[in-house]
Amino acid sequence: MLGTQTPVSVGAQPFGCPFGIDVEAGGTILTTVFTYFSYGCAPSAIFRANPGTGQQSVVSPHSIGWSQPFGMTTEPDGSILVADEGHRGVYRVNPVTGIPTVISQYGYLVNPTDVALALPPPQPPVSTPGLVTGGSKFNRFTGEPEDDGWIAINGGKNVYRNSTASFRFVIRYDRGDTEPSGYLTFTDSNAKVTIESKSYDLLIIERTHASFVGTAVVNGEFKREFRVEVDDLAPNNAALMDVRDNFSIQLLDGSYMASGQVLKGDIQIGQPYCLLRPCPAGDASNP
């Protein structure tokens, strides 16, 4: 056997011969059972299985009139769409009562095996309001660094292990802004890489972690996309303690990446922004 396999729900009747499968928003698993009596399969029906315990329950029983239900998918409101080969149709099933409603039947359909639902195109990610800074000697009024911070490089691509690199950045985003603003400078002298931001596109703050992307001039070459990931783990201005912040930067063309712990300086997420003015309710920077 190749790969790792774990049985989720193993059972005799009435769960026999599942064909279609889907996962509901809450994580429970739905299956359709395609009747095939000559092979000992259970009467056709729709079942639900607890993904943790494997416990099975009937969503829509055979007695309701299923013939050969096969492929399925779920709609945003939880309704279940099922293709029934035997009935030559597509049904919408109430996930609570199990009662099916025919959506379309016959016509071109001879043995429909699967269904899919067209969803709205995914929305582009939206920046998180807040302020993230990195460097050293932070201005107590603006929260911005006045000197470079340094990382000890312990991973990356086209870097020298155990070397160091300097960084300094400010990125802020407020509701209503078209895009984040600020600046970033990064210098890895050993690898001869200098990155100077020209614009920011996105800032995402998740508690003590922040990531941001933008375009930069890299060694004089304009329009290179970069991504920075930082962890604000240490108390502010306490980077020499046991717990240290993390900083990583990569060029999205894959040509360079450096990551490591902050040796000198600090990463600060949110707090300066909130010290200077009240954090709007719901902001990631509002503790």
Binding site: L2, T4, V8, G71
Partner: protein, 218 residues
């Protein structure tokens, strides 16, 4: 004399061959166009909420994809003919393109705006590609009901079509359905013989969770 006749014959045959090749070079593209023109592919607009159905036996037996209006139930052909021989599984990518599995060994991408089909992946591990699912990153997962005699789960790169065999054997015995849990785990509906062996670690780090071993089908 005989040499002369032989030379003439070969010259005639050579000219005939060249003429036939020239005619074929003109006719072949026309025939191909006619072949695909005879396929009832069509252009439809897919709106959020529309339901797409794949049917392997529709339209004379080679199957097709149909749009179903969720309000009226009206059916519209999205794509048929072309590479379709027995399409069975269907997903819609984030881009809006449709991907189907065809049991004859293909994964086919369909542009709904034109109905045009392109083979994304073929051959390789495919023996009876059936169920189809999408991973969060856009990779396609195919559950194959017959690879190695018992079935497999195969990941397909959506750009290159490259196949990666994630799991085979074990609990699998003619799986037809596949889905992905929120944490990225893959769940498979399978009707194999009931056993409950302990999980086995292998090269793939993907956890395959099999549903319901039961008597073999087909």
């Amino acid at each position: 004399m005989n040499t002369h006749i032989g030379t003439s014959l070969s010259r005639i045959l050579g000219n005939a061959t060249r003429a036939a090749a020239a005619v074929w070079s003109v006719l072949a593209p026309v025939l191909l166009i006619l072949l695909f023109a005879s396929s009832p592919v069509s252009a439809v607009t897919i709106n959020p909420g529309d339901i797409l159905v794949v049917d392997p036996n529709a339209l004379g037996g080679n199957g097709g994809i149909f749009k179903i209006d969720p309000a009226t139930g009206a059916q519209t052909i999205v794509s048929s003919g072309g590479f379709f021989q027995e399409p069975v599984g269907i997903v819609i990518e984030a881009s809006g393109n449709i991907v189907v599995t065809d049991r004859t060994g293909f994964v086919i991408r369909v542009d709904p705006a034109t109905g045009i089909q392109n083979v994304l992946s073929a051959g390789g591990y495919f023996a009876d590609p059936f169920g189809l699912a999408l991973e969060a990153g856009g990779n396609l997962l195919v559950v194959d009901a017959a690879y190695g005699g018992s079935g497999a789960v195969i990941r397909v790169n959506p750009t290159t079509g490259q196949q990666t065999l994630l799991t085979s054997g074990g609990f699998l015995d003619n799986p037809y359905g596949i889905a992905v849990e929120a944490n990225g785990n893959i769940v498979v509906a399978d009707n194999s013989t009931a056993v409950r062996p302990s999980p086995v670690r292998a090269a793939s780090s993907v956890s395959i969770r099999c549903l319901e071993p039961r008597p073999r089908f087909l």
